[in-house]
Symmetry: C2
Protein backbone atom coordinates (compact mmCIF):
# COMPACT_ATOMS: atom_id res chain seq x y z
CA UNK A 1 0.00 0.00 0.00
CA UNK A 2 1.15 3.48 -0.79
CA UNK A 3 2.95 5.33 1.96
CA UNK A 4 0.91 8.44 1.19
CA UNK A 5 -2.08 6.94 2.98
CA UNK A 6 -0.41 7.32 6.35
CA UNK A 7 0.61 10.88 5.50
CA UNK A 8 -2.88 11.78 4.38
CA UNK A 9 -4.48 10.41 7.53
CA UNK A 10 -2.09 12.24 9.85
CA UNK A 11 -2.56 15.42 7.83
CA UNK A 12 -6.33 15.25 8.17
CA UNK A 13 -6.08 14.92 11.94
CA UNK A 14 -3.55 17.74 12.05
CA UNK A 15 -5.86 19.96 10.02
CA UNK A 16 -8.65 19.23 12.48
CA UNK A 17 -6.36 20.24 15.34
CA UNK A 18 -5.31 23.37 13.50
CA UNK A 19 -8.89 24.57 13.42
CA UNK A 20 -11.25 25.43 10.60
CA UNK A 21 -10.61 29.17 10.57
CA UNK A 22 -7.29 29.26 8.73
CA UNK A 23 -5.84 27.07 6.01
CA UNK A 24 -2.50 25.29 6.41
CA UNK A 25 -0.10 25.02 3.51
CA UNK A 26 1.30 21.69 2.38
CA UNK A 27 4.77 22.93 3.28
CA UNK A 28 3.75 23.49 6.90
CA UNK A 29 2.06 20.12 7.23
CA UNK A 30 5.09 18.43 5.69
CA UNK A 31 7.57 20.23 7.94
CA UNK A 32 5.62 19.16 11.03
CA UNK A 33 6.54 15.53 10.41
CA UNK A 34 9.62 16.12 8.27
CA UNK A 35 8.12 14.86 5.01
CA UNK A 36 8.91 15.85 1.41
CA UNK A 37 6.66 18.86 0.90
CA UNK A 38 6.03 18.59 -2.84
CA UNK A 39 5.06 14.95 -2.58
CA UNK A 40 2.73 15.47 0.35
CA UNK A 41 1.16 18.20 -1.73
CA UNK A 42 0.35 15.57 -4.31
CA UNK A 43 -1.54 13.46 -1.80
CA UNK A 44 -3.39 16.46 -0.43
CA UNK A 45 -4.45 17.32 -3.96
CA UNK A 46 -5.96 13.86 -4.22
CA UNK A 47 -7.86 14.46 -1.00
CA UNK A 48 -9.09 17.77 -2.38
CA UNK A 49 -10.27 16.11 -5.58
CA UNK A 50 -12.18 13.61 -3.45
CA UNK A 51 -13.95 16.41 -1.61
CA UNK A 52 -12.30 15.67 1.74
CA UNK A 53 -10.20 18.83 1.77
CA UNK A 54 -10.63 22.21 0.15
CA UNK A 55 -7.68 24.11 -1.21
CA UNK A 56 -7.03 27.84 -1.53
CA UNK A 57 -4.19 29.35 -3.55
CA UNK A 58 -2.11 32.39 -2.73
CA UNK A 59 -0.75 33.69 0.56
CA UNK A 60 -2.77 32.62 3.58
CA UNK A 61 -3.85 29.80 1.30
CA UNK A 62 -3.45 26.07 1.83
CA UNK A 63 -5.69 23.19 2.74
CA UNK A 64 -8.52 22.86 5.20
CA UNK A 65 -11.14 20.24 5.96
CA UNK A 66 -14.04 20.42 3.53
CA UNK A 67 -16.38 18.63 5.91
CA UNK A 68 -16.44 17.57 9.57
CA UNK A 69 -13.90 14.93 10.52
CA UNK A 70 -16.74 12.67 11.65
CA UNK A 71 -18.00 12.60 8.07
CA UNK A 72 -14.72 11.21 6.72
CA UNK A 73 -14.10 7.49 7.02
CA UNK A 74 -10.78 5.71 6.71
CA UNK A 75 -12.11 4.18 3.51
CA UNK A 76 -12.66 7.64 2.01
CA UNK A 77 -9.03 8.58 2.52
CA UNK A 78 -7.67 5.26 1.28
CA UNK A 79 -9.85 5.42 -1.82
CA UNK A 80 -8.81 9.00 -2.50
CA UNK A 81 -5.08 8.25 -2.31
CA UNK A 82 -4.87 4.69 -3.59
CA UNK A 83 -7.64 4.85 -6.16
CA UNK A 84 -11.05 3.18 -6.12
CA UNK A 85 -10.09 -0.04 -7.90
CA UNK A 86 -9.74 -3.13 -5.74
CA UNK A 87 -6.41 -4.76 -4.97
CA UNK A 88 -7.24 -8.19 -6.32
CA UNK A 89 -8.35 -8.02 -9.91
CA UNK A 90 -9.43 -11.28 -11.52
CA UNK A 91 -7.75 -11.62 -14.92
CA UNK A 92 -10.04 -14.53 -15.81
CA UNK A 93 -7.13 -16.73 -16.72
CA UNK A 94 -9.40 -19.76 -16.69
CA UNK A 95 -10.85 -18.45 -19.95
CA UNK A 96 -7.45 -18.59 -21.64
CA UNK A 97 -5.62 -21.47 -23.28
CA UNK A 98 -6.76 -25.07 -23.52
CA UNK A 99 -8.30 -24.83 -20.08
CA UNK A 100 -10.92 -22.40 -21.30
CA UNK A 101 -14.26 -24.09 -20.90
CA UNK A 102 -17.34 -22.97 -22.76
CA UNK A 103 -16.67 -19.32 -23.66
CA UNK A 104 -18.45 -17.53 -20.83
CA UNK A 105 -22.22 -17.60 -21.05
CA UNK A 106 -24.14 -14.34 -21.15
CA UNK A 107 -24.77 -13.86 -17.46
CA UNK A 108 -21.48 -15.43 -16.46
CA UNK A 109 -19.48 -12.52 -15.07
CA UNK A 110 -16.22 -12.64 -13.14
CA UNK A 111 -18.26 -13.28 -10.00
CA UNK A 112 -18.80 -16.84 -11.18
CA UNK A 113 -15.13 -17.59 -10.63
CA UNK A 114 -15.00 -19.18 -7.21
CA UNK A 115 -11.55 -17.77 -6.55
CA UNK A 116 -12.45 -14.24 -7.54
CA UNK A 117 -15.59 -14.50 -5.46
CA UNK A 118 -13.72 -15.52 -2.32
CA UNK A 119 -11.02 -12.90 -2.77
CA UNK A 120 -13.58 -10.18 -3.36
CA UNK A 121 -15.45 -11.20 -0.24
CA UNK A 122 -12.31 -10.87 1.86
CA UNK A 123 -11.51 -7.51 0.38
CA UNK A 124 -15.05 -6.42 1.10
CA UNK A 125 -14.49 -7.24 4.76
CA UNK A 126 -11.44 -4.99 4.68
CA UNK A 127 -13.32 -2.13 3.05
CA UNK A 128 -16.17 -2.53 5.50
CA UNK A 129 -13.81 -2.32 8.47
CA UNK A 130 -12.26 0.82 7.02
CA UNK A 131 -15.62 2.39 6.28
CA UNK A 132 -16.87 1.66 9.79
CA UNK A 133 -14.39 4.00 11.41
CA UNK A 134 -14.34 7.74 10.90
CA UNK A 135 -11.46 10.10 11.45
CA UNK A 136 -13.04 11.83 14.42
CA UNK A 137 -12.81 8.61 16.41
CA UNK A 138 -9.16 8.42 15.42
CA UNK A 139 -8.64 11.99 16.57
CA UNK A 140 -10.28 11.34 19.94
CA UNK A 141 -8.15 8.29 20.52
CA UNK A 142 -5.02 10.19 19.56
CA UNK A 143 -5.90 13.02 21.95
CA UNK A 144 -6.43 10.52 24.73
CA UNK A 145 -2.85 9.34 24.29
CA UNK A 146 -1.31 12.77 23.71
CA UNK A 147 -3.61 15.46 25.12
CA UNK A 148 -1.10 18.24 24.52
CA UNK A 149 -0.67 17.48 20.82
CA UNK A 150 -3.36 19.88 19.49
CA UNK A 151 -2.04 22.81 21.48
CA UNK A 152 1.55 22.12 20.48
CA UNK A 153 0.58 22.03 16.83
CA UNK A 154 -1.34 25.31 17.01
CA UNK A 155 1.52 27.00 18.83
CA UNK A 156 4.03 25.79 16.27
CA UNK A 157 1.85 26.95 13.39
CA UNK A 158 1.44 30.39 14.98
CA UNK A 159 5.20 30.72 15.40
CA UNK A 160 5.92 29.98 11.77
Amino acid sequence: MSEGVEWALHSCVNLAWSGPDRAVSAARLAAWHDLPAAYLNKQLQALARAGILSSSPGPRGGFRLARPLAAVSLMDVVAAVEGPEEAFRCAEIRRQGPGAGEPAADGAAAADCAIAHAMTRAELAWRKALAAQNLDEIRQQAERQAPEAPRRLRAWLAAQ
Copy 2:
Protein backbone atom coordinates in the same frame (compact mmCIF):
# COMPACT_ATOMS: atom_id res chain seq x y z
CA MET B 1 -1.71 -7.23 -5.28
CA SER B 2 0.55 -9.44 -7.31
CA GLU B 3 -1.02 -11.22 -10.24
CA GLY B 4 0.75 -14.40 -9.25
CA VAL B 5 -1.78 -14.98 -6.47
CA GLU B 6 -4.50 -15.77 -8.97
CA TRP B 7 -2.18 -18.06 -10.88
CA ALA B 8 -1.15 -19.88 -7.72
CA LEU B 9 -4.73 -20.44 -6.60
CA HIS B 10 -5.83 -21.81 -9.96
CA SER B 11 -2.75 -24.00 -10.12
CA CYS B 12 -3.49 -25.51 -6.72
CA VAL B 13 -7.02 -26.43 -7.76
CA ASN B 14 -5.72 -27.82 -11.04
CA LEU B 15 -3.20 -29.95 -9.18
CA ALA B 16 -6.00 -31.31 -7.02
CA TRP B 17 -7.94 -32.21 -10.14
CA SER B 18 -4.89 -33.81 -11.69
CA GLY B 19 -4.68 -36.27 -8.84
CA PRO B 20 -1.98 -37.01 -6.26
CA ASP B 21 -0.36 -39.92 -8.09
CA ARG B 22 1.66 -38.02 -10.68
CA ALA B 23 3.36 -34.63 -10.58
CA VAL B 24 2.60 -31.89 -13.12
CA SER B 25 5.35 -29.69 -14.49
CA ALA B 26 5.13 -25.92 -14.36
CA ALA B 27 5.16 -25.85 -18.16
CA ARG B 28 2.00 -27.99 -18.32
CA LEU B 29 0.18 -25.92 -15.73
CA ALA B 30 1.15 -22.74 -17.52
CA ALA B 31 0.10 -24.00 -20.94
CA TRP B 32 -3.32 -24.94 -19.58
CA HIS B 33 -4.16 -21.26 -19.03
CA ASP B 34 -1.67 -19.79 -21.50
CA LEU B 35 0.60 -18.24 -18.90
CA PRO B 36 4.35 -17.51 -19.06
CA ALA B 37 5.82 -20.83 -17.92
CA ALA B 38 9.03 -19.59 -16.32
CA TYR B 39 7.24 -16.97 -14.29
CA LEU B 40 4.55 -19.35 -13.06
CA ASN B 41 7.40 -21.63 -12.05
CA LYS B 42 8.60 -18.82 -9.81
CA GLN B 43 5.27 -18.66 -8.01
CA LEU B 44 5.10 -22.44 -7.65
CA GLN B 45 8.55 -22.40 -6.11
CA ALA B 46 7.23 -19.98 -3.50
CA LEU B 47 4.35 -22.36 -2.77
CA ALA B 48 6.83 -25.20 -2.42
CA ARG B 49 8.96 -23.19 0.00
CA ALA B 50 5.81 -22.55 2.03
CA GLY B 51 5.13 -26.28 2.24
CA ILE B 52 1.95 -26.13 0.17
CA LEU B 53 3.42 -27.98 -2.81
CA SER B 54 6.24 -30.47 -3.15
CA SER B 55 8.54 -30.41 -6.15
CA SER B 56 10.43 -33.19 -7.91
CA PRO B 57 13.17 -32.64 -10.48
CA GLY B 58 13.88 -34.65 -13.59
CA PRO B 59 11.57 -36.30 -16.11
CA ARG B 60 8.18 -37.24 -14.66
CA GLY B 61 8.95 -34.52 -12.16
CA GLY B 62 7.00 -31.37 -11.40
CA PHE B 63 4.75 -30.18 -8.62
CA ARG B 64 2.10 -31.88 -6.55
CA LEU B 65 0.10 -30.97 -3.48
CA ALA B 66 2.08 -31.47 -0.30
CA ARG B 67 -1.03 -31.72 1.84
CA PRO B 68 -4.80 -32.06 1.37
CA LEU B 69 -6.48 -29.13 -0.28
CA ALA B 70 -8.72 -28.74 2.75
CA ALA B 71 -5.63 -27.97 4.82
CA VAL B 72 -4.66 -25.00 2.65
CA SER B 73 -6.37 -21.68 3.26
CA LEU B 74 -6.49 -18.73 0.91
CA MET B 75 -4.34 -16.89 3.43
CA ASP B 76 -1.63 -19.53 3.15
CA VAL B 77 -1.36 -19.03 -0.60
CA VAL B 78 -1.45 -15.24 -0.40
CA ALA B 79 1.20 -15.21 2.30
CA ALA B 80 3.38 -17.60 0.31
CA VAL B 81 3.26 -15.50 -2.87
CA GLU B 82 3.00 -11.95 -1.53
CA GLY B 83 5.11 -12.38 1.55
CA PRO B 84 4.06 -12.36 5.19
CA GLU B 85 4.47 -8.64 5.87
CA GLU B 86 1.29 -6.59 6.05
CA ALA B 87 0.25 -4.12 3.36
CA PHE B 88 0.02 -1.08 5.62
CA ARG B 89 3.25 -0.48 7.44
CA CYS B 90 3.28 2.39 9.91
CA ALA B 91 6.38 4.50 9.37
CA GLU B 92 5.78 6.31 12.66
CA ILE B 93 6.00 9.68 10.98
CA ARG B 94 4.51 11.31 14.06
CA ARG B 95 7.86 10.71 15.76
CA GLN B 96 9.68 12.80 13.15
CA GLY B 97 10.17 16.54 12.87
CA PRO B 98 8.83 19.23 15.17
CA GLY B 99 5.64 17.24 15.63
CA ALA B 100 7.47 14.49 17.47
CA GLY B 101 6.10 14.43 20.97
CA GLU B 102 7.97 12.85 23.86
CA PRO B 103 10.28 10.30 22.22
CA ALA B 104 8.22 7.12 22.58
CA ALA B 105 8.03 5.75 26.09
CA ASP B 106 9.25 2.24 26.79
CA GLY B 107 6.04 0.35 26.20
CA ALA B 108 4.87 2.68 23.47
CA ALA B 109 4.98 0.55 20.35
CA ALA B 110 3.48 1.31 16.95
CA ALA B 111 0.18 -0.03 18.25
CA ASP B 112 -0.24 3.18 20.22
CA CYS B 113 -0.66 5.12 17.02
CA ALA B 114 -4.43 5.35 16.58
CA ILE B 115 -4.11 5.36 12.80
CA ALA B 116 -1.86 2.32 12.68
CA HIS B 117 -4.16 0.57 15.12
CA ALA B 118 -7.24 1.14 12.97
CA MET B 119 -5.51 0.18 9.75
CA THR B 120 -4.12 -2.97 11.31
CA ARG B 121 -7.56 -3.93 12.58
CA ALA B 122 -9.02 -3.62 9.09
CA GLU B 123 -6.22 -5.66 7.61
CA LEU B 124 -6.78 -8.27 10.28
CA ALA B 125 -10.39 -8.58 9.14
CA TRP B 126 -9.10 -9.21 5.63
CA ARG B 127 -6.65 -11.85 6.77
CA LYS B 128 -9.30 -13.50 8.89
CA ALA B 129 -11.68 -13.72 5.94
CA LEU B 130 -8.92 -15.26 3.83
CA ALA B 131 -7.94 -17.72 6.54
CA ALA B 132 -11.55 -18.80 7.04
CA GLN B 133 -11.81 -20.34 3.60
CA ASN B 134 -9.81 -23.32 2.43
CA LEU B 135 -9.08 -24.34 -1.12
CA ASP B 136 -11.22 -27.46 -0.99
CA GLU B 137 -14.31 -25.30 -0.62
CA ILE B 138 -13.14 -23.34 -3.62
CA ARG B 139 -12.68 -26.53 -5.58
CA GLN B 140 -16.16 -27.80 -4.71
CA GLN B 141 -17.72 -24.53 -5.78
CA ALA B 142 -15.78 -24.54 -9.03
CA GLU B 143 -16.85 -28.11 -9.77
CA ARG B 144 -20.46 -27.16 -9.13
CA GLN B 145 -20.19 -24.55 -11.88
CA ALA B 146 -18.13 -26.64 -14.30
CA PRO B 147 -18.51 -30.35 -13.45
CA GLU B 148 -16.59 -31.48 -16.51
CA ALA B 149 -13.51 -29.39 -15.73
CA PRO B 150 -11.56 -32.08 -13.77
CA ARG B 151 -12.07 -34.71 -16.42
CA ARG B 152 -11.09 -32.34 -19.23
CA LEU B 153 -7.89 -31.42 -17.42
CA ARG B 154 -6.89 -35.04 -16.81
CA ALA B 155 -7.59 -35.91 -20.42
CA TRP B 156 -5.50 -33.00 -21.67
CA LEU B 157 -2.64 -33.90 -19.36
CA ALA B 158 -2.70 -37.50 -20.55
CA ALA B 159 -2.60 -36.39 -24.19
CA GLN B 160 0.48 -34.25 -23.70
